[in-house]
């Protein structure tokens, strides 16, 4: 059961030089399906792909270059797959339960299989919301 985002402590020793430990809040990754679900994940304190630097860069790139729908699907798919491959621990997936989901969404096509094949993912927890 995932109660909320986790925070990790980053820091340590390198080359005999002591660095002061720097506490960096790294939000736990979450995934979402269907409109309204991303907001739920963000409101619960998780990180979503669209909020990462890579996600924001991709949004800018798409806005500037206006690729086709198929290209945009592939772009988000590649990024989503990498994002899922880097996930750790219990992974929440927020889903809009009132409207269901389209069969060909980015999560189903790219991210879900990457999560299933990721040995560091210990659990995939579907969280249904009823907006």
């Amino acid at each position: 059961m995932v109660d909320g985002p986790e925070t990790w402590l980053v820091g340590g020793l390198s080359g005999g030089i002591k660095f002061s430990a720097k506490k960096i809040a790294i939000k736990q990754r979450a995934f979402w399906i269907g409109k309204g679900s991303e907001k739920m994940a963000l409101d619960a304190g998780f990180e979503t792909i669209g909020e990462t630097r890579a996600g924001r860069n991709l949004k800018d790139l798409i806005a500037r270059t206006k690729p086709s729908l198929a290209e945009r699907d592939a772009m988000w798919g590649r990024l989503g797959k990498v994002y899922a491959e880097g996930a750790r621990g219990n992974i929440p997936v927020f889903q809009n339960a009132t409207e269901g989901m389209r069969i060909n969404n980015v999560f189903k096509k790219y991210e879900y299989s990457a999560l299933l094949n990721n040995p560091f993912v210990t659990n995939i927890e579907f969280r249904f919301n009823y907006p």
């Binding site: 399906i33 409109k35 991303e38 792909i49 798409i62 988000w76 980015v106």
Partner: protein, 89 residues
């Protein structure tokens, strides 16, 4: 209210609400979240009629809903039906 501009936007995304969301369009774009739901629901209902799977009473109700929801212009309804016939719906 469903307009021609909104239908063209919906068509451009082939109904992919995930891509529309990923690109922040529900916040900045032409179609709001509730309008997207309305279009998607109506598309499904109109497809039932187009495929002769709906009763006469149901069809009448949906056509009334379509008339109420679309901008008072036959072109919009015509375009709506054209999209409802697409395979990606």
């Amino acid at each position: 209210m469903i307009t021609l501009q909104k239908l063209k936007e919906f068509e451009q995304y082939e109904g992919r609400d995930d891509l529309y969301q990923l690109e922040d369009k529900f916040d900045e774009g032409i179609i709001s979240s509730s309008e997207w739901t309305l279009i998607t629901d109506l598309m499904g209902e109109v497809r039932l009629i187009l495929n002769n799977l709906a009763s006469e009473e149901y069809s009448k109700r949906i056509i009334e809903k379509l008339n109420r929801s679309c901008d008072g212009n036959g072109v919009v309804i015509e375009y709506f039906i054209k999209i409802a016939n697409q395979n990606w719906i």
